[in-house]
Amino acid sequence: MESSIRDRCPYKIDIGAVYNVDPAKRTAYASSGSEKVFAPVERELVFDVDMTDYDDIRFCCTGADICLKCWPLMTIAIKVLDTALREDFGFEHILWVYSGRRGVHCWVCDVKARRLTNEQRAAVAEYFRVYKGNENNTKKVSLGGSAMHPSLLRAYVEVLRPFFEDQILSNQGLLQFEERYGKLLDMIQDDGIVAQAQDRWQSSRRSSETDVSVARWKQLKNLLESGKHKGSGLRRCVEEIIFSYTYPRVDFEVSKHMNHLLKAPFCVHPKTGRICVPIDAEECDRFDPTAVPTVADLIEELNKGEASLSNVAQNQKERDISKTSLMKSIELFRTQFLNPLLKSCKADVENSYTEKLHNTQTKLDW
């Protein structure tokens, strides 16, 4: 396959599902008279998190731009989803990939995941849907009940709250200006508290200080705390606000259908030239999207660079790779993801073989 990819020199590779019939021959099976219908058999469970879905809550950039101030939203998404996929759903072979411009993709490659039906995929995606609504409603996160679902609680305590209070508040200056804090105050259903907050902040002259958002958030929390007894509308208000500004927003349609195509890892993003490199979920705090190599960088490195001679049995290809800044990514891909997956696939094949053997043997007894 490597040689055929080199020959065709594709501009981009998108990966879809494995089908029961060679896709090139699918029209032969289209007539309703035949038993076999062209259908997908296996496909990884995938997620696509795109920064533009967060446009209503980020103020540092708009549209296709990203920077280190809004990137933490992606970090949050990776942490929350990765933990939930492993802990709640029991998946193990998960690959996170930078999408090349403004988001991240997640590939879940366990056998169980590959065999999920569309309905089951939709259920998993829906499990992660907390933010509901559009520009017509002001309150888009509704955490009913007297407690939170354990998955949401874990996300809140381990990721959402620390990130919100330590980074997002000040990065985005969420409470710095009236247009911004107005949005947040719209989520509070108590006019009295809203009025109090507005009075204090409108008259304050501290809007130029960078930690004004943090201070104001503290004030708001106090107000909400003291108002809790007034009714259930305020009970989860703090959590709901934090969820609105941080909880991952996954593209539902991408995950739901087995036949949706997704860009392969290590492709070049057509608009930015950046390589879609894997992201180490354990170290995702340190991932810098602005430092991802572009295809131009790679060409330069290949032409000028010096191969690392640390690995003795290297062929030309490996030496080339080691000249570039892509080497670490490839190492990561292999060790953390590919090798364990290959091992598990082999084990599966062996298991099903021995099972088949056992079944035929037992059948022979009578």
Binding site: S32, D88, G90, K112, G144, G145, S146, P150
Partner: protein, 463 residues
């Protein structure tokens, strides 16, 4: 699958209390059934399924559905000699043969049977439900007390997040792969850990219904293959005709002339058309008045309908003659068209008293250029349908609702909605244009002369 025709010897269901009344229908029974029972049982079950379909397409809620299912089951599926379970199983398998033969039929059957099963299961007592699980060796493992303790706080959290009562030591939980309960996962209504969902026994219905559905889905495809490859050949004289007829069978009264006691006078026709005809017949009627002609399909559909309404042969001849005559002259009408009308009333040729077309038949017809028959809800464009409904003085909102039903291909429900809007009262599902007419007359003309009232109730009082 083995259907043997013989005398009606029945296997005793022996100790029927020891086992659950419900079934996964995993294997066909080796019972012996007469051909009549074969067909009748299937028809009865079909009535239950169609009743359920009607309720579902009207958006009935779960409590109502459950009550309806119990009602329908009691009405149609009881036997006089205690072999309810046999009838249940036999009828299911017969319908499997009927509904395995195309993707659309399979989808319908799967959907209806799943809903039927879900409602029946849900209405069973918890002990019966447990018995069903045991009988069918379902892999839902109740968790041990120690397991329960270790995850108790998480289970409590989930319950509280749904404003439900917290589980205690008495509640049973089942450990189930999350793939089995997608709806619960999607709504975050269940605690999941390492791919296992911890489902309370109250949610058991979801689990079991899911199993039912997937088993039936696979079985239907297998049945189809077997039917195509083996059975339809072997049974082409015996079972195949019955099976093929069942899938399009109309199940209500047939409105052939004998049953209708009311008479209709010719001069009342226009009024009746405006107030009591369903849209298909209205259209035909007014087109006839307008163009003084109808093509064959239209003549059949309208002519037989009018016969069912109570129009006598002489009046029918007079009616058609007066219309057609205006375009082609009375002599030509008598020569070319009168014979057909008499034939419809069973006065010529083989003297069959043709029955008026049911909605099913009308919906399935294919009107061509110059035709006006068929079902307007199916065959009209949206614009034309809107205009037609508008001319019946229906408000925009109700018209939108009707069109929504049409888009989802619920033509008969759309017709029912029209009936309700024009008569201001509810109706049960419309399956036959004459049923529409009868219902309409009942509402608009409640005072019937005494003899007619007696005649109409003769079926219920005579036992």
């Amino acid at each position: 699958m083995d259907f043997r025709v013989a005398s009606t010897r029945r296997l005793s269901s022996g100790g029927s209390d020891a086992h659950s009344r419900l079934s996964f229908y995993l294997t066909a029974p080796t019972l012996e059934v007469s051909l009549e029972e074969f067909e009748q049982y299937a028809l009865d079950r079909l009535r239950v399924l169609k009743g359920l379909e009607e309720a579902l397409s009207r958006g009935r809620r779960s409590e109502e559905l459950e009550a309806l299912v119990i009602d329908l089951w009691r009405k149609y599926m009881r036997t006089s000699n205690g072999s309810d379970l046999n009838k249940d199983i036999i009828s299911h398998f017969v319908l499997r043969l009927v509904y395995c033969r195309s993707d659309e039929l399979r989808k319908w059957f799967l959907s209806m049977e799943s809903s039927l099963f879900r409602n029946r299961f849900h209405s069973e007592a918890p002990d019966d439900q447990k018995r069903f699980l045991e009988d069918n060796e379902l892999p839902y493992k109740a968790i041990s007390t120690s397991d329960f303790e270790s995850i108790k706080d998480k289970l409590v959290q989930v319950a509280r997040s749904l404003n439900q009562p917290s589980p205690n030591a008495d509640s049973t939980f089942y450990k189930v792969p999350f793939e089995e309960v997608p709806e619960l996962v999607a709504g975050r209504k269940v605690y999941i850990h390492k791919g296992q969902a911890y489902v309370p026994s109250t949610q058991l219905t979801f689990l079991v219904a899911g199993q039912f559905r997937s088993k039936l889905s696979k079985a239907l495809v297998l049945t189809y293959r077997k039917w195509m490859s083996v059975i339809s050949e072997e049974e082409s004289d015996r079972l195949a005709p019955i099976v093929e007829a069942l899938s399009s069978r109309y199940l209500g009264p047939d409105y052939s002339q004998g049953k209708i006691k009311s008479e209709v006078a010719l001069q009342d026709m226009d009024d009746l058309a405006k107030t009591s005809f369903p849209l298909c017949m209205r259209h035909l009627f007014f087109k006839l008045r307008e163009e003084h002609h109808l093509k064959h399909g239209g003549r059949q559909q309208l002519g037989l309908f009018l016969k069912g309404v109570g129009l006598k042969l002489e009046d029918a001849l007079a009616f058609w003659r007066s219309e057609f005559g205006q375009k082609m002259g009375v002599e030509r009408f008598d020569k070319e068209y009168a014979y057909n009308i008499r034939h419809n009333y069973g006065k010529e040729g083989k003297r069959t008293d043709y029955t008026p077309f049911s909605c099913n038949k009308i919906i399935l017809s294919t009107p061509g250029v110059g035709d006006h028959h068929g079902c307007p809800y199916r065959h009209f464009s949206e614009e034309n349908l809107r205009a037609a409904l508008g001319s019946m003085h229906l408000g925009v909102r109700i018209v939108d609702e009707i069109l929504e039903k049409v888009r989802n291909r619920h033509y008969q429900v759309a017709c029912s909605l029209t009936f309700e809007a024009t008569h201001g009262s509810q109706t049960i599902g419309i399956n036959h244009p004459n049923q529409y007419f009868e219902q309409s007359r009942k509402i608009l003309q409640p005072k019937v002369p005494q003899e007619l009232a007696n005649d109409n109730t003769e079926t219920t009082t005579a036992s």
